[in-house]
């Protein structure tokens, strides 16, 4: 049974990868075949992740590639979120990417990134993480550089520079992990990343976790590794950012959460939780204050991405603490909360970045007066922003609620700080929403594909929000 399912899933994934790899063979002057292949790749991936989710929900963990990849409910849910975000991104961008100088690359890279996201989400092996990390990272650099304008290229250079440093940390982590956990000197190094009992000394384990967190901190934009993020997310083409911030990031959140879940033990839980809580506080506070200082929509979305990683870190601190002191079930409930929040994050960010990128305008111009020119799009944007703010009954509210419910078992002050931050964030989200009805010269209606995507995403955010308690009870064991 498991073998057959595994075969089907692997087949679907190879199909997705193949679709991506076939794109360069399509004629350059026509974008249709490339777009069709991208859709095939994205849909095959979505089928694979949905199947994984169905399997893990009914049968428990799913092992692939001789335990290099192990899927539990959390990982399967996260992989499915990436699929959903990719569908939204592609729906919104559609044939727009054909205007870019090397457009086939975009259609080719989206399925390839998804393939990598699948692997990194379920990764159970350090070398596997490194390999897929490189795949996703390099593909992301190219995506950011694709639009070909000066800003995008400058952003891509910054992104590559950051990526190189982060990769160094990650490689160092793999090395420490492999060397420290090999029991016999001449035996081949063991690299299964979740087995922390292999470490001979706790201090080496701590070093490994620190290196890992530094590497992933760069990718996720955790303060103090965040400096590159506003430049890339705010200056590059929004349509490219949509893929990096909405799709690829889901995989990085998943692998971070999983590693922390497995790393935490009664011996290190307190220190690990404290470290994560500290990072959470500085990250969300920085993100929110920085977002308050800018009057540019894309920059606000960039900074609010940092703030959202801060909220997720709050829940990760709870994962570490609860795993150490309250047992696996409580920690898994916190992981499920992160999954709900990531769903809220990805379904809002991916279409919003894509919509801004479709018609880049400085400041708030891309929203101004949208209510008159395209009421449907305006309403959808408002719903997505309110979901990011955490207004019930939208899914963003439930993500925050469940995350903070988990975190409050660890520390009341931490949750109070997180909620005050969430309260402050009302300012910039509300300013953005107000622009939708501004009386001054309104912006033109966005392309139909963008309106459709925004509406679809808003409906998802609303419907999933109404059903969130059910969804949550599905993910928790």
């Amino acid at each position: 049974m498991s073998l057959a399912t595994a075969g089907v899933i692997e087949g679907l994934l190879y199909g997705a990868l193949a679709a991506g790899l076939l794109v360069p063979l399509t004629p350059r002057e026509r974008s249709r075949p490339a777009l069709a292949l991208a859709w095939i790749g994205v849909l095959l991936y979505s089928a694979a992740s949905a199947l994984t989710l169905a399997y893990t929900l009914s049968h428990g963990p799913l092992e692939l590639y001789s335990r290099l990849v192990i899927y539990d409910r959390f990982a399967a849910f996260m992989a499915s979120i990436a699929g959903l975000a990719a569908i939204l991104a592609l729906l919104s961008i559609g044939s727009q990417a054909a205007e870019w100088p090397s457009h086939p690359a975009y259609y080719s890279l989206l399925p390839i990134i998804l393939f990598g996201v699948y692997m990194i989400t379920g990764a159970a092996n350090a070398v596997m993480v490194l390999a897929v990390w490189l795949l996703v990272s390099v593909a992301s650099y190219v995506v950011i550089a694709l639009p070909g304008d000066a800003e995008s290229r400058a952003a891509a250079v910054r992104y590559i520079l950051m990526g190189a440093i982060a990769t160094l940390f990650l490689a160092f982590w793999v090395a420490v992990h492999a060397v420290a956990t090999s029991s016999v000197a001449l035996a081949p190094p063991r690299t299964d990343m979740f087995d922390f009992s292999l470490y001979p000394q706790a201090s080496i384990g701590a070093l490994a976790i620190t290196l890992f967190l530094a590497a992933l901190g760069f990718k996720l934009g955790v303060v103090p590794f965040h400096w590159w993020l506003p430049n890339v997310y705010a200056r590059a083409d929004g349509r490219a950012v949509s893929v990096v911030a909405g799709v690829a990031k889901v995989g990085f959140i998943a692998v971070t959460a999983r590693l922390i879940y497995y790393a935490a033990s009664p011996a290190n839980a307190k220190a690990l939780a404290l470290l994560l809580a500290g990072l959470a506080v500085v990250t969300m506070t920085y993100g929110n204050i920085a977002a308050l200082t800018t009057r540019d929509l894309q920059a606000i979305l960039a900074y609010s991405s940092i703030a959202h990683i801060g909220y997720i870190l709050t829940a990760l601190a709870a994962v570490a603490y609860l795993k150490g002191y309250a047992g696996a079930t409580a920690a898994e409930a916190a992981l499920a909360a992160i999954a709900i929040h990531t769903l809220a994050y990805a379904t809002s960010k991916s279409p919003l970045f894509a919509a801004i990128g479709a018609k880049p305008e400085p400041g708030f111009r891309s929203l101004r007066g949208l209510l008159r020119t395209s009421p449907g799009a305006a309403l959808a944007v408002a719903v997505l922003l309110l979901s990011l703010l955490g207004v019930p009954p939208l899914v963003g509210f439930w993500g925050k609620l469940y995350m903070f419910m988990a975190a409050i078992k660890y520390s009341i002050p931490l949750v109070a700080i997180a909620l005050v931050n969430s309260g402050i964030s009302a300012v910039y989200y509300v300013i953005a929403i107000r622009e939708l009805a501004a009386p001054e010269e309104p912006v033109e209606a966005p392309p139909a594909s963008v309106v459709a995507t925004l509406t679809a995403a808003a409906l998802i955010v609303l419907v999933v929000g109404l059903a969130a308690p059910y969804l949550y009870s599905l993910i928790i064991p």
Binding site: R372, P392, L401, F404, A416, L419, V427, V430, R434, A437
Partner: protein, 518 residues
């Protein structure tokens, strides 16, 4: 044991007004006739829960409570249900009566306002959008009053915030962009402080329920279950609700928001929404933390008196009629808090009664202000009024009835609520004699300030000589605005003469609320 209703009337009474508003918006019901139809339908739908409450009072079914048959249980969240019992029946009645009356009142006011904004070259959304937001706001308040679970409560709380923010931002006066933002952020911060407390409550107890379904009994004291964190949670919930309620110290946002909102919305914001925070205090804070609150009693009583006197004195100095009303709301919230702070059944019952009293009285007065704004070219400055009783005899009578609510005088039910609140106060503070005397003195000051600002303002607006051309040339017209105000007057008068079932069912339910104190 609560009676389970035959159909999901309570959920429908929340859902249908939103649906009606949505249809009006999507169907672009912008013309005057279409707006009238929308207003009529909305008013009928919004009046249903009030009529239901009246029927339940008549049938004597309020004390043991009624429960909507549709409810769902979620692990870790609790039961999401809607119910009416003795404690929230006057609240539901107040929200229902005011929102229904103001829906009718809105049509003429908002058409004038939209025309005026268009004349100034501003493009605004039309009546359809207005009624969608208005009905959502009203329905969310009904849900807030009937919820039995903190998550549901918070959802409705935020659902009141978004439409009311947009209503101020679209059709408000003055620097409405800044003021709407001030309103949103302040009350949102109040809400998240409350949410912090709510989350801790829910996580520790494994449920967010504050009323057990289907018995409709309070969960009872939870200080033991929360341990050392109980005090923090009580502080968080109290501060969160006090911000919403605009108690002295965290009241700064209110005068701006309530004065500059479009007047029909002021009539909902001011008495209905802020008072709901006081209701919430009785609903889940007092029963959950009786011992902690008993320790805070003196402080809360002092805070309540400060709020009454401060709000009243500042109100006296106002020139703008609406700002005057906004400050008087701060003062009236002081009375509600006073009743709650006594922690006696009669005091808390008085506070809930005062919600209903203030809802009717303050709505009548904001509606009076709206009549002048509509008829007299945005006349809001009290200094330019005067002598309006001769020009506007009906409005003057209605406004006088509103002022009687604020001053706590018959034939308004204000006499009952203030009497109950003061009985509660003196039940607790009756010795030593020095305490009694000093409190009597403070009470006298508070009541004098309330009476003073009510009647001095009444005189400045309606009597004496007109002080401007606009006031001199005024003439009353008989229209739907006046008719809707008469509707509210009728509700107020009925509550005055038929107060017994309201008070009796309140007293029997409140005894459960403060059960933990004894």
């Amino acid at each position: 044991m609560a009676t389970i209703l035959g159909g999901p009337i309570l959920w429908l009474s929340v859902f249908l007004p939103v649906l009606a508003g949505l249809i009006a918006w999507l169907a672009k019901a912008e013309s005057e006739d279409a707006a009238r139809i929308t207003a009529g339908v909305s008013a009928i739908l919004l009046a249903i829960p009030g009529a239901l409450v009246a029927g339940l009072y008549a049938a004597g079914m309020v004390s043991q409570g009624v429960l909507d048959p549709v409810y769902a249980h979620f692990k870790g969240i609790g039961t999401l249900a809607l119910a009416i019992d003795g404690l929230n029946a006057p609240i539901v009645l107040g929200v229902s009566a005011v929102t229904a009356a103001v829906a009718v009142y809105s049509v003429r006011y908002m058409l004038t306002r939209i025309e005026e904004m268009k004349a100034e070259g501003e493009d605004t959304p039309g009546m359809g959008a207005y009624f969608f937001l208005y009905n959502t706001f009203a329905a969310a308040m009904l849900g807030l009053a009937m919820a039995t679970n903190l998550v549901l409560f918070y959802i409705f709380l935020e659902l009141t915030l978004v439409p009311s923010f947009l209503l101020i931002a679209y059709w408000g006066y003055g620097d409405r962009k800044r003021i709407s933002l001030l309103y949103f952020v302040w009350t949102h911060i109040g809400a998240v402080l409350l949410l912090t407390g709510i989350i801790y409550y829910g996580v520790k107890l494994g449920t967010f329920d504050y009323l057990l379904v289907p018995q409709l009994k309070p969960l009872g004291p939870i200080e033991g279950a929360l341990g050392s964190a109980a005090k923090i949670v009580a502080v968080l919930m109290s501060v969160g609700l006090f911000v919403k309620m605009a108690v002295f110290g965290v009241h700064m946002w209110l005068p701006y928001a309530h004065a500059e909102a479009p007047t029909p919305i002021s009539a909902l914001l001011s008495p209905n929404l802020i008072g709901l925070a006081g209701y919430a205090y009785a609903r889940f804070v007092i029963p959950s933390f009786p011992t902690i609150l008993a320790g805070w009693r003196d402080f809360l009583v002092a805070l309540a008196f400060t709020t009454i006197i401060y709000g009243g004195l500042v109100a006296l100095t106002q020139r703008d009629f609406k700002k005057f009303l906004a400050y008087s709301s701060v003062s009236q919230m002081g009375y509600m808090l006073l009743g709650l702070a006594t922690l006696t059944s009669i005091g808390i019952a008085g506070a809930m009664m005062h919600y209903l009293v203030h809802a009717i009285g303050k709505a009548l007065l904001f509606m009076t202000a709206g009549v002048f704004i509509t008829d007299l070219h945005s006349l809001r400055d009290i200094r330019l009024m005067g002598g309006l009783a001769r020009k506007y005899p009906l409005t003057a009578a209605l406004a006088l009835y509103g002022f009687l609510h604020l001053a706590g005088m018959p034939p308004s039910p204000g006499i009952w609520s203030e009497w109950m609140i003061l009985v509660g106060l003196y039940k607790v503070y009756n010795h030593p004699l020095t305490t009694l005397f000093s409190l009597a003195l403070v009470t006298a000051v508070a009541l004098t300030v309330s009476a003073a600002y009510s009647f001095i303002t009444m005189r400045r607006i309606f009597y004496g000589q007109p002080r401007s051309d606009r006031a001199r040339e005024a003439r009353e017209t008989r229209n739907a605005m006046i008719a809707s105000m008469f509707g509210l007057l009728l509700v107020g008068f009925l509550v005055f003469i038929l107060a017994t079932p309201v008070i009796n069912s309140l007293m029997s339910t409140v005894s459960l609320v403060i059960a933990g104190l004894h």
